[in-house]
Symmetry: D3
Subunit: 337 residues, 6 copies
C-alpha cells in the first residue's frame, strides 16, 4: 500500500546553458523545475509511493509549465495553490575542470510561494491526508509568512499522527542575520520533527553546540545523540561528502536511531549532476523507514540512492527501488540489453 | 561622418520557446536581449552611425551576456553602468493562426535599470557626446527615479545642442493610474523633444485632445499640427498599422514637418516577427533626417525599414541602408547569388 | 466539482521527423505519446476535470516514458496496467504543399494493450469511479480481447450510472473484413452508448443505412435521428470538415439532442497539426454537457476547441476553457502581453 | 533493366543557416552537398536507374563527407576521382517575404574539380558504360580544362552510342566575357547534344537569334525549331516559371520533338526550397524518354517532378516514379496512413 | 583490386537518446541503422574493398531510410531485397558512471529480414560474385527460415570458391533453448566456415568442450586448435576484453592459423561507444588476410581497428587503413592540422 | 585607465562538427571566428582594456558575421578594413581518446586579409592610438604584402612610443621554404619587438642558435638571454607544455626580464578546448606588465590564464582578472551560488 508523502517547498525554474558555454557565449537554455520538495516528492514516487507538493505557483504559462513538469515526475497536483505573480528562477552555467559552475538567481523573494501565507493552503486537508510531511531549511530561510506556514503545518500533521521530516540544509547566503537569526527557527522545527537530516556542522554552527572532538566522525558521534535527546527526535540521518583529487566524489551516510549509529560504506563515483543527491539520500532514509528495512540496509540504500542521483540529468532523482538495490549490490553491467 | 546616436532605456532578456510549442510542452528556450533603446541604437548602427545605450545592468553573468549581445549588434558599451541585482525578463510563446502569442514577464520593477537614478550615469558626458538622444514611453512608465533621469538627461542634451527624440509608445498595462497618471510626464517629454513618434490616438487618449473627424487619417491631420504647435516640436512621425484577413500586415508611415504632411505608400507584407517594426520606422526617420533625405524619401525609407524588420528573427532591426533602399525600389529577387 | 473522465484506449509512440525532411534525409526524431483516449483525457483535464486512461503499457523504459508523458498532460495513472512486451509506434514525416505527410506503423497488434484482456484491468473499480467513459472505433478495430473488454466495461459503467461516450472513428485500413466485419461491433457499442460521435457517412457505410438526400447536411438530418432512435442514444454529435483551396481548413460542428439539431458556424483557419482536432471537438461536447451549456453554446465551444487543437504542436489538445471561450468570441489578439 | 545515367559536374558544399536568421545572428549551419550533376544523378536513381557522377574531390575529410553524402543519395562512386585541394562551397541565408535569400560563395575556381583536366578521369571507361551523359552550362562556365574535358567526353559518349544531354543553364555572374565568351562553347555543346534543356531566352541571348514575336510562348515556338534544326538536336525541352503575387510559384513545361511541341498544364504550388526544380524537370524528361512514355505524359511527368522537388528539403530531388505519378493525378491526400 | 565482401544479416534501427537523459526525461532521439553485417560490410569498404549486405527491408519510408544510411557508408544495395512489413528497432539510453546503459527492443522477430526465406534472395548470384561471405551468431539465433538461408548460402559460396567467415557471437537472451538449442546450428556453420571468430568460452559453452586449464589464455590455447581441427577451419581469431577500474577498456586480440597462435599487445583506451568493436576486429582480420599481411601484423592491425571503433560515434567502424596503421604506430597527435 | 591593445592578424572562420562525429557522419556545424589576434584582443578586453583588431574582411555576409562575432567579444571595429573576396576557414572534427582531432583548411591565401597590403589600413592612425601592438608568427608566414605591412606598422608604433609584442608561433606547415625562408623575417620582427613570446626551440630552429645543454629548461636559460641581448628585447616570455598519461595537460610559464628568469608553478589540469591557451598566456603577460604586477605574479597570472582558457568553449579566452586571480589562489569551488 503506497504512502502519501507530502513535501512543502518552493518550485524554482532552472535555466541551464547546455554544454560548457557561458551565458555570454550561448543563445539557448534548457529549462526544468526543481527544489528540495520537488526532489523528495518525485524520488518517493519513483520508490512506489504517492508524492505531493504543497506550494503556490503563479496562474500564468510559467506556472502551467511548472505543474506539467511536476506531473511528469508523477507528483500530484492536489495541494498546489495558484496565484501570485512570479516564479523563482536560477541560471546555471556548467563549469569544467578548474572552472567552477556558476548559479545566478532572479528575485526569489517576490515569488508566489514566498509571498504566500497560511490562508493560501488547505492545511487541515493536507495534515489529514499526508503520511509523511517534509520540510527543509532553505524554505525556512525565506519570509515570515513562509516560516509561519511551515510551523503551523508541522503541528497539524503531528496532531493527526503523521511523521514530520526536517532537512536542516543551511544556506549561508539566504540568512541575512546569519546563524543568530536562523537558530530559533531551527529550534522550533527540530522540536516538531520526527526525522531530521543534518550532521555535526549543523549542530555546531546553527545550534551553537560545542564538542572537544576534532575529527568529523567523532564530532558527529558526540553531538547528534545530544541533539536527538534535546529535541526528542526519533531518527537523525545525514552524509559526509568529499570531492576527491581524481574528480570523483565520495559519499558516506549515517543514521542515528534508537540510540545507536549505523554507517554506510564510503562510496566513490563519477558525477554528472550533483544537485539533488542529498534529497535522494533523504528519500532513501524515508523509504527504508516506511518499508521497515533494517537500519544497515536503510543507510546503505540511501547512500546508493544519493550516488545514483549524481548520474542523472537534472536535479531530480529518477531511480526505482530495483535500480537502487542493484547499485547497492554493486554489479554494474556495461549495457543492459 | 557617422553620428553618435544614444538611446536611453532598459535591456530585457527575451526567452522564447522555439517553434510553436507552449512553455508547458517544451524544454528549451532561445534567449536574446532587447528593448526599444536596443533596437534603435542597433538599427542606427546598421545604418552607418555609432549607436550607444544608456542603461544599467547587473554585474553578474546575465549582465555580461546582455553586454555581449549588445556589442554583437555593434552598440557601444561606453555609457552602460553596472550594478544592481536583476535584469527584466519576458518569456515568449509563439502563437499560430487563431492562437495568439503569449508574453509572460518577470518582476521588471526590481531590475538594475528601474532601480537606478541620476547618480548612476555620467549624464554630462553623455549629453556632450550624443548627437541624438532617444527616449521612449515604455521607460517613462517605470519608476520615479527613471522618469527623473529621463527629464534631466533630455534637458542636458538640449542645452548641449543635441537632438531629443521621444517615442510616445503608450502601454496601458504599465500605467496603474492610466492616462491621468501618464499625461503630465508625457507633456514634460513632449516639451523637451525635437522629434516625436506618435499618432492621433496618442493625442486623443494621452493628451486628451478632441477632434470632430472620424477617419484615422483625418484625425491625424487635425491633431498632429496642434500637438506640434503646442509643444514646439520640429518633426512628428508615426505609422498606421493593420492586420489583413490573409494574415499579411499593412503599414503606412507619415511625417509632419515644416507644417506639412508626407505619407508613405501603404505596404503589405508577410511577417516573421513583428516586434521591433516601430523602432525600425523611428530609425528610418532619424536616418533620413540626418542624411538630409527629402521628406518623401525619408518616410518611404522608414516604412521600408519597418517592413524589413518584420522579416528578421528577433526584435532588433538588422537591415543596412542598401538593403532598405533596395526594398523601397521593390525589386525583390528570389535568391541573391 | 471536477468530474472523472475515463478514456479506454491504446497509447501510441509518435516519432516525428522535425521540419520537412524525409526519414531518408534526417537523423533526428521528436517523440511523444498519443491516441484518441490520451487526447480526450488530456483535453478534459485542461477543461478542469480529472482525466484518466485505461490502458496497458509494457514494464520497460518505453512504458515509463509513456506514463511520464501522460502524467505531464495531467492524466491520472491509477487505471494504467503494466506488462506485456511492446508499445505501438508510428513514424510521421511532415508533408509540404503538394507533398502529403506520411505515416509508417510498427507492429501494433503485438502491443501490450492489444494483447490485454478483461483480467488485465480492475473494471469494477473503474466503473465505480468514472463519471464518463470514452471509447473509440479505432480501438474497436483491434483484437477480440480488446473488443470484449470494451463491451464489458461499457456495460459495467452503464450499470453504475456513468455516461458512455462512443466515437465511431472508422479507419478503413484497420478492418481487414471491411464494413461487414465492423458492423456488428459498432451496433453493440451504439446500443450501449449515451453520447455518440459520428456523421452521416458512418450511418451509410458502417450501418448500411440509406437516404434519398444528396447533400451532406440533408443526409445528416435524415439519418442521425433514425440512428438515435434505433439505438436509444441521447446525444449524437460530429463535424463536417474540408480543406480549402488556400490551404486553410474548415470545420462545422453539429449536435442532435432532444430531437433537434444545432450547428456551429463554419470556421476556417490555418492548421499547424491537424491530428487531434476531432478529439478536441468530442471533449468540447462532453464539457458543454457536463457544464450544462445550452446546446448552441456547446456546439460552438466544441468547434472552437477543434479549431484551436489544430494550432497546437502534437496530437493532444492543450486549451483551457478560458482560451476556447476567447477564441469563440473571435477577438484574436496579435500578442498577449 | 535500369540504365546508367552519368552526370558530369562539380560538387558544391552547401552551408545553410537553419531557420531565418542571418549569418551574423546565428552560430549553426546545416551542410549538404549538391550541384546540377548531383541532382540529376540522384533523381534518376530515385526513378529506378543507376546514377553516377563524374567529378573530382579532394582527398580529405571534406571530400570523404561529400562522397558519403552522394552515396546516401544512391549515386555510384565508381567515376569519382580524388585529389586536388579544395571543395567549392556556398553559404545560404534563407529569405522571408520581402527579404531575399542570400548566397555567398567561396573561391570555387580553386576547387579540385575546376583544377582537373582530361587525364584525371577514365573517359573511355565512362563513355563505354554510360547510357546517358548529362552536362550543364554552369560547368561550361568554369575553366578551360573543364570545358575541354566536357567536349572530349561528349564526343566519346556519342561515338559509343550513348545519349548526350545538355542543360544550357546560363548564369550571367559566371561568364566574365558575357554572352560573347559563352557563345562558341554553347555552340560546341549543342552540336554534340541529343537532348537539350533550354528556352527562348537562351536562343535569343546566348545564340543571338532574333524573333519578331513578343509573347514568351510565341518566341519559343518560333526559335526552338530553328535551334533543333541548326544543331541537329533530337529533343529540346524546358520550362517557363513565375512567382505569383500570393507567393506560390508556377511552372509550365514544354518538349519539342519530332517537329512538334507538347506543353504541360501550368502548375501552381507552394515552395519549400526551389533549388533543384530544373534538375528534377530534366530528370523527368530523361526518364520519360527512357521509359517510352508518350510525349504528353513525359512533359506532364517532368513538370510534376519539378513541382515536387520544390517541396523537398535541400537541392536534390527525392521523389519516386510512383510519387510523381500520384502528384500528376493530383489527388493530394492530407496524411498518408 | 578491391574484393567483394558480402555480409548476411539484419539491419536494426538504433534510436538513441542524446546525452544522458532517460527516455522518460527526453523528447528527442537520434537514429541510425546497424547490425553486425552492416558493421563488417562498412568497415571493409573503408578499408578499400566493396562491401555488400544481403538482407531484406520493408518497402516503406523506414526501409528507404535504412538503405540511404547503408549507402552513405558505401555499402552496395545490389543484394538487398525489399518487402515484408517491419524493421527491427532498439532504443538506447546512455548510462553514466555507476548507472548502466539500457537497451529496449521492439518485436524483432516480425521484421522483414526474420520473416524472409531462401526465395527472397538471389543466392546463386551472391555466391558467384562474393569473394568473402560473413555470417554471425546473432542471425543464427533468429528463425528457422533465416537459419536455412544461412546454411544454403554458405554452401553455395563455398562451392564457388568464396571464403566463408563465421562470427560465433553468442547472445544468451536470443536462444530460448539455450546452448542445447544453439549447438547443432553452430556446428553446422563451423563445418562450413573458413575463418571463424570465437574464443575459449564459445568452445566451452556452445560446443561443450572441456579443458583442465584455468586461465583464459591457457584455455584458449588448449581448445582453439581442437576446434580448428574438428571442423577443418583454416583460421580462428578473437579477442579478450576487460573493463579496467579507471573506466578504460582493454582489448587483446589473437589469431590461430597454420597451427600456431599470434597475439596482439594488450591495448588500453578510453571508450566513446563500444558497440561495433568486435566487428571492427573481424574486419581487421579479414583485411589482413586479403592483403597478405604477416600474421603478427594482421592481429595487431585488427586490435587497433577494434580500439579505434570505440572512439567513433555509432556502431559502425569508420577508420581507413592509413588511420589504423597510424594508431598501431601509436604516435597520437593532439590535433591533425 | 584602460589601455588600447591592438592586434594585427587574420580572422578565420572555425566550422566545428558538434560532439564527436566525423564530417562524413554529421550534417551540422557550429561556427565561430578566431585567430591569434582575435584571441589576444578579446582576452585583453576581458581584462579591462580596450582591444582592437587590425584586419581586412570581405564586404559580404561572412564578413558581417565575423564583425558581429568580434564585437560580441568586445573588440572594437575601428581598425577593421572591408573589401576583398574571401575569408579563411577551417573545419574541425573533434578527436576522442586515441583518435586525434582533424583540421581541414580552405584556401587561406586568397583571403581578404592575405591579399591586403599597406594601403588597406590607416597605419598612422593605428600607430598613434595603440598602446600595445601585437603580431604573430602565423601572420608572418603569409604573403609578402602581409609581411611588409607588419614591419611598417611595427616601426610606426615604435616611433610613436607604443609597445611592440611579437609571438614567434612558428607553424612548419605554413613555410614552404622552411626555417631558412622564415629566419630573416623573424629577425626583422625580433629587432622591432619589445616583448617577445618564444622558447628555446624557436631560438634553436628558427634563429639557428646552438647550445650544449640538453634539458629544455637549461637550454632556455642558456639561449633566451642571448636572444634578448642580440635583438635588444626588453621582455621574453613563454611556456613549456606537455600532455600527461592521464589525459591531463601541464603548463609551466616563464618570463625573462631585467636579466633574470621567473617561472610559474607547473599546472596540471583537464582540457576542454586547448586552442587559444598560448594567446591567453600572452595576454596574462601583457596585463601583468601593464598593471605593474611583480614578475612572479605576472607569470603565475599568465599561467593561470592559459589554464582557464583550456576550460572554455572555443578558441577565445573569456576570463576576467578576478576569475584568474581566484584560479591562481587555487580554491576551486564546486558550484558558485
Amino acid at each position: 500500500m503506497p504512502k502519501k508523502i507530502v513535501a512543502f517547498g518552493e518550485v524554482m525554474m532552472r535555466l541551464q546553458v547546455p554544454g560548457y558555454e557561458l551565458l555570454a557565449q550561448a543563445d539557448t537554455l534548457k529549462y526544468s523545475f526543481s527544489g528540495t520538495g520537488v526532489n523528495v516528492a518525485s524520488a518517493m514516487t519513483k520508490l512506489g509511493h504517492d508524492g505531493y507538493l504543497v506550494t503556490k505557483l503563479p496562474n500564468n504559462p510559467l506556472g502551467d509549465a511548472a505543474i506539467s513538469f511536476l506531473q511528469r515526475l508523477g507528483i500530484g497536483r492536489d495541494f498546489i495553490s495558484r496565484g501570485g505573480k512570479y516564479l523563482g528562477m536560477y541560471f546555471l552555467e556548467n563549469g569544467f575542470g578548474q572552472r567552477a559552475s556558476r548559479v545566478t538567481y532572479t528575485n526569489r523573494l517576490e515569488s508566489s510561494f514566498n509571498k504566500a501565507g497560511v490562508s493560501d493552503y488547505n492545511l487541515d486537508l493536507i495534515a489529514e491526508q499526508g503520511d509523511i510531511i517534509h520540510f527543509c531549511g532553505i524554505t525556512l530561510a525565506m519570509t515570515d509568512q513562509v516560516r509561519e506556514t511551515m510551523k503551523i503545518l508541522a503541528k497539524k500533521v503531528k496532531e493527526k499522527g503523521g511523521i514530520v521530516c526536517f532537512d536542516c540544509n543551511y544556506r549561508p547566503s539566504l540568512w541575512d542575520g546569519g546563524y543568530e537569526q536562523a537558530k530559533p527557527h531551527y529550534e522550533d522545527m527540530l522540536g516538531l520533527a520526527d526525522i531530521v537530516m543534518m550532521n555535526e556542522k549543523d549542530a555546531m554552527y546553527i545550534l551553537g553546540m560545542e564538542t572537544k572532538e576534532s575529527s568529523r566522525e567523532e564530532q558527529l558521534k558526540d553531538l547528534i545523540p545530544k541533539v536527538a535527546k534535546r529535541f526528542g527526535i526519533q531518527t537523525i540521518a545525514g552524509t559526509h561528502r568529499a570531492i576527491n583529487s581524481d574528480n570523483t566524489h565520495s559519499l558516506k551516510g549515517y543514521m542515528y536511531k534508537n540510540e545507536s549509529f549505523v554507517f554506510s560504506r564510503n562510496l566513490s563515483f563519477s558525477v554528472y549532476d550533483r544537485i539533488g543527491a542529498g534529497d535522494a539520500y533523504t528519500s532513501g532514509i524515508l523509504h527504508g523507514e516506511l518499508a521497515g528495512f533494517p537500519a544497515e540496509k536503510t543507510v546503505q540504500f540511501a547512500a546508493a540512492a544519493g550516488m545514483l542521483a549524481c548520474t542523472i540529468v537534472g536535479d531530480t532523482p529518477m531511480s526505482t527501488e530495483t535500480e537502487i538495490l542493484s547499485a547497492m549490490a554493486g554489479t554494474i553491467e556495461d549495457i543492459k540489453r
